[in-house]
Symmetry: C2
Subunit: 362 residues, 2 copies
């Protein structure tokens, strides 16, 4: 076992932001030509790898929450119909890229073959999770997803996936249930960017919408560790309120519908003693942009992590409210984000408890 493997490190192949375009998987794009894999309609998921690629034997897909919700609601909770549509999407597009939500998810599996020129720090046999979206990962399914009932985001799956030179992959740590690590990796951009944003203020008031969820609970823990003056977790139902209160991750926990701007702003302002300096949106339903903006102080920052966020609604909402707030598109990647999220899981009991409960509930 390599040292890197023991660390469970998330390592990118090349620094972000360079123009190293040959490493981003262009050769796998079938149509339209000239776009990057995420923007492509269809990828080539053939199993043969190029010299700088890696092939993964897939064990499990973890569908993005917004994507699974859309599919489940579309089919009225009919698991067989959801499964059929997921299979159809993957077969048609060569990747799990929900055409409605535009989102994907991630996967876990075992490294099968590493091209001689791959810069990724993995070896055949390593158990890994991909930290790049399924929307840009070539994927082929060979078992018809027979072991999945279509009623959970966690999809047991046999097949293969391809990683490019400039991908991000994390070896699963030995001390944690792999399902736990996967759940953390799925949202590990949220705590890292929350911490960075909170450090830009002096003891700020922080509101996390959807505070009892995966990204929300990690964001609350990160905000406190990064120096938040006071934090509030906003949740939609009493059961989540009780769970989050028990976890002790926030100074206050309030019930509010994040899609109702007036109610949300009142709840946040009441709990924090004033509007939030930093508002983190982790609610995976559409229509939370205006409430987040209205709940945020002038000069504050809203971090949108929800894939259900509408760019136009946020941009025009801030303008329409004459709100001088900085609005960040939640980037799923920051250097060290996976290690940081795992450290929160290991060291903050409330985070561990919420994640473990969620696994048990699944």
């Amino acid at each position: 076992m390599s040292r890197r493997r023991r660390e469970g490190a998330a390592v990118g192949a090349t620094p972000g932001g360079t123009a190293a375009t040959s490493a981003v998987g262009l050769r796998r794009v079938v149509e339209p030509a000239g776009v990057l894999p995420q923007a492509a309609y269809r990828l080539d998921a053939r199993s043969e790898i190029a010299a700088d690629e890696v092939r993964i034997r897939v064990e499990r897909l973890n569908l993005d929450a917004a994507s699974f919700r859309q599919l489940s609601e579309k089919h009225g909770g009919d698991g067989a119909a959801v499964r059929a549509e997921v299979l159809e999407i993957i077969g048609e597009r060569g990747k799990m890229h929900n055409p409605v939500t535009g989102s994907g998810g991630m996967l876990v599996g075992t490294v099968d073959e590493v091209g001689p020129e791959s810069p990724l720090p993995v070896s055949p046999g390593d158990r890994v999770a991909t930290l790049v979206s399924l929307t840009l990962t070539p994927l082929a399914v060979t078992d018809g997803l027979v072991d999945w009932d279509g009623r959970s985001e966690q999809v047991p799956c046999t097949g293969h996936a391809i990683l490019f030179a400039r991908s991000i992959v994390a070896v699963l740590p030995d001390d944690l249930d792999p399902r736990l690590s996967l759940a953390v990796f799925d949202v590990c951009g949220a705590p890292a960017l929350t911490a960075r944003t909170v450090r830009g203020y002096r003891a700020p008031r922080v509101a996390v919408l959807g505070g009892a969820g995966k990204s929300g609970s990690l964001a609350l823990a990160a905000a406190r560790q990064a120096g938040a003056g006071r934090t509030v977790g906003v949740v939609p139902v009493p059961a989540e309120r009780d769970r989050l209160a028990d976890a002790g991750l926030a100074d206050a926990v309030v019930l509010a519908d994040a899609r109702n701007p007036v109610a949300l702003a009142a709840a946040v302002t009441g709990a924090l003693g004033g509007p939030a300096d930093v508002t983190v949106v982790c609610v995976d339903v559409p229509g939370c942009e205006h409430g987040a903006i209205l709940a945020t102080a002038g000069g504050g920052t809203v971090v949108f992590f929800s894939m259900a966020t509408s760019f136009a609604s946020a941009a025009l909402g801030a303008e329409g409210l004459a709100a001088d707030v900085t609005m960040l598109i939640g980037n799923g990647y920051l250097p060290g984000h996976a290690e940081y999220a795992l450290s929160l899981l290991r060291t903050v009991p409330g985070v561990r408890a919420l994640f473990t409960d969620r696994l048990t509930a699944d």
Copy 2:
């Protein structure tokens, strides 16, 4: 004429970010209940005003570029069909809110009546432009848009519009052609946020995609004034390249299709001597997210002003490229944004020339 009128100042009624929700026009929302006006499907555009409202006699609408382009392309450039659809949208929704692009535009008119409790610094007879989007402005048209041929974003229009207490409105300055002021106000968030972002770096490299357009040319001028080390304007066609080069607003001007990430990154990196520290996206076509991210250095910032930006594409694109870039949703409002944009028009000859040429071309 009041002092405020002479200044042509843009003035908001209340500080951004407070929970002063009664001032944001909730009483005008017809459906669905509980949302803010921008999120509403339908507004009540009746002409009677409440005590804190203002009624404007409309002279002209300025459609958002993305909205007009979508309508024009949908109808194959048939102006009569475009006009009919705009009339239908306004009649159905009580506002000019393009259901496909989610965007609106702005308007110019004359203050007709000011409620006794309105905090807006305007008086009946003032010629004004609204700086909040048409997507949240109650609007009724009474002339069937007979004077518009459906072939330009500038729409001569008779009718009325309503401003709320927390709206932003600018009195048109006397020293400028009103059409010029309107064109500047329409995009005045871009130079203000560009300047703020550039000041966060030391002599940064700045790339502006769509540098010859309205927001793009103002952003280039703002970047230089705010201390950019080197700037490049990216344009799609030779005619724009020549216009922007003549205007002298950028240190370099290059031709590239912003929808082609590989070509764009190569062009920007070549012109700047390395990837951009700040990339400003002012191109009103979809699909520019990945190129902007790929052209930006690790630790850099991408400012998305185009209303054609896809949130999911940006978020997943950065993750997929392992790019540690800050991504900002372009906020149309910053304190003092209208005055700042007008000052650039007045003091930077290249900006004035591009805006004047554009008016002449219309």
